[in-house]
Amino acid sequence: MSQFNLSRRSLLKAGAAGLAAAALPMGYARAQSPIVLGAVYVGPRDDFGWNQAHSVAMEILKQVPGITVIEEENVPETDAVSQSMESMINLDGANLVLATSFGYYSPFVVELAKKYPEVQFRHAAPLWKEGDPTNAGSYFCYLNQGHYVNGVAAGLSSPTGKLGFVAAKPIPSVLSNINSFLLGARKSNPNATVQVIFTGEWSMPVREAEATNALVDAGCDVIGCHVDGPKVVVETAEGRGVKTCGHNASQAPLAPKGFITGAEYKWSTIYSMYADLLAKGEPLPNFVAGGFHNDMLQNTPYGAGATPEAIAAADAAITDLKTGKPIYVGPLKDNAGNVVIEGEMDNYDPVLDGMNYLLEGVIGSIT
């Protein structure tokens, strides 16, 4: 694979490897049994988005002696994923499988975990619950904190305060990112609004470009997004001369003029922790979740679109999030006028996982 990589990715990998070397103690050679880790991705590993975020972090595990990483990309959320995972177990001897797409969990991971009790399965969404197989588990990062930081920076980088957001589907995890983006923007500019367009699909480049253009035509001068691969949105917005905020992985190279910052996963924290435990022969936790406070998120280094005030405010927002300062502080109304949040919500409150509204200030509708 490596000879196909863009130099930018190689750089990222080198950076990730350096991080690993810094973060991990020595002595993995003494791992009791060889670990074969199978990673399954739903899209290409260089999608400038979700899959790339995982793939970049996976490079860290590849550096660990005693761990062999095998990877498979473009595996759809059908029985193809059970087959891929089972093939990893039977033909490659995988004893830890990382299934990185939401739809892999039920029924596929759950059923395979029952069928192969000696193999560990970990899935990248907060779906594991008591009663599920104990050799399965979940890991997840609350990216809405990153979108909050995006919003804080966007609010101070936008001359008009009119922000746009291209979103995939009106489901809780997406709505939470939109609402957090708005709350961040309102923190730095109380008059900011976020206009949202849903494309209806996780990956629909044509519609993403149309939506971006429509938002720019409507006067938005900063565009954020939550789609699988934000490449099209970021490039289209850059082409139209407006600023952008990133999502999932770094899109900074795509927008040299207008990139502000981006909400990025830091899966490497979790993967390093897994590697560490595996090397010691200790069990992996069934459930890991986090955000800025436990170093599971990062914001993309600021681009040319970020003003100095925006950078200062965003850095302050990250510091606040690290100390657990809540994003959702009531009373908050949805954009139909109903009070949806009364008091202060902890950033990891499970109630937020069921979010089904857009806050006042978001222009758009989920139906």
């Binding site: 095998i70 473009n74 059908t78 029985d79």
Partner: protein
């Protein structure tokens, strides 16, 4: 045309000629596969990978062990049915490329009807029967509509079936994200799961679900229907020349719509098995592209229902091996697509060989039908 057809009928019935034609039908695709393998090896050498490694991995991943074989068969299950869904209308001269929509809508209908059946505790076999029936009816109506539009309204069936396919997916999304959404499926809108008790298991002793067996049975049945019955003869004749068929007094409209309905039933059934054997509910994962792979498979099988089965298994094996190739050789997923593309082009090109290889021609001159 009719004189030539009439003239050929006695000769194709002599065993010798049948053998020759069968041998030709076997020989040409095999040569094509070999040529594809050579071309693909060149491609691998250019990008600096070993063709030997590649093909030995394809063998290991596709057929090398009982596990691999079962994987290939399991992956081929929806492809057989999708291949049939293209092949049958093709015999009557229609290019129906909307099996994807019929599969999705059929699967959705099965999942939807299952909700009350499961709620009321109807026994599983009866539930499956009803689910399969509704899936087939839904798929049949959907593709039948494309046939009807074609014959009675003159709408190009290729375009209409493709567009109907998008509508079908939109309809499923509309209900799955709306009225029929299981509240528990917050981030991946789905219908209510049918539950483990209502899942169709595997064929005993294997990991292959029953959709594979259904595909084989249907392939045989449709082969007999298209080759050994008056219906099949009339359909093929219509495929040869609609006007001639009409002049002969054949019910062309009925034949066209029937073939389309059969195709839709196959696709709908594939959707049923996706829901009942794989997902246990309907959601966006049903849109997996099987319907479009089926087009490729039917073309390679030259629209012969029986040949659809081995071709689908070959595709299943290539897909199964594709993962192994990615993992062991560190090659991108697109590698397998390159191989599939080469096979497709070479096989289509090889069509020109039929009737040109002296060895396979019957000794009587001039008969090439």
């Amino acid at each position: 045309m009719s004189a030539e057809t009439a003239g050929s009928i006695p000769s194709t019935h002599t065993p010798n000629v049948r053998m020759l034609k069968f041998a030709e039908a076997l020989f040409v695709p095999l040569v094509a596969l070999l040529v594809s393998a050579v071309l693909f090896s060149l491609f691998l050498l250019i990008i600096g990978k070993s063709p030997v490694d590649f093909f030995s991995l394809v063998w290991t991943g596709g057929f090398g062990s009982s596990f691999s074989i079962q994987q290939s068969l399991q992956r081929s299950a929806p492809l057989i049915l999708a291949g049939l869904a293209f092949a049958i209308p093709a015999r009557i001269g229609l290019t129906i490329i909307g099996a994807e929509g019929a599969l999705v809508l059929g699967g959705f209908a099965a999942a939807a009807i299952a909700i009350p059946l499961v709620t009321f505790g109807i026994p599983a076999p009866l539930t499956w029967l009803l689910m399969a029936l509704i899936a087939m009816v839904t798929g049949g109506v959907w593709i039948g509509l494309a046939g009807w539009l074609r014959h009675y309204r003159g709408v190009n069936e290729t375009i209409s079936s493709l567009l109907l396919s998008y509508i079908a997916i939109a309809i499923m999304n509309f209900f799955v994200e709306g009225a029929l959404r299981d509240p528990a499926s917050a981030n991946k809108p789905s219908t209510m799961p049918i539950g483990d008790a209502y899942r169709i298991g595997s064929i005993p002793g294997t990991d292959v679900h029953w959709g594979f067996a259904a595909g084989i049975v249907l392939a045989i049945a449709l082969y007999i229907l298209m080759s050994r019955t008056t219906f099949g003869f009339a359909a093929r004749m219509t495929g040869g020349n609609v006007r001639a068929a009409q002049a002969q007094g054949l019910p062309v409209g009925l034949l066209i719509v029937s073939c389309c309905v059969i195709a839709g039933c196959c696709a709908g059934l594939a959707g049923f098995f996706e829901v009942a054997a794989i997902h246990g509910q309907a959601n966006a994962s049903l849109v997996a592209g099987y319907g479009f792979t089926g087009i490729l498979i039917a073309f390679l099988a030259r629209h012969n229902p029986l040949a659809v089965v081995p071709v689908a298994i070959l595709f299943g094996a290539i897909a199964a091996a594709g993962g192994l190739v990615q993992r062991r050789m560190g090659m991108p997923d697109a590698t397998v697509l390159v191989l599939q593309g080469i096979i497709f082009v070479v096989l289509l090109t090889s069509d020109t060989l039929y009737g040109r290889l002296k060895f396979f021609q019957p000794p009587v001159g001039g008969d090439r039908t």
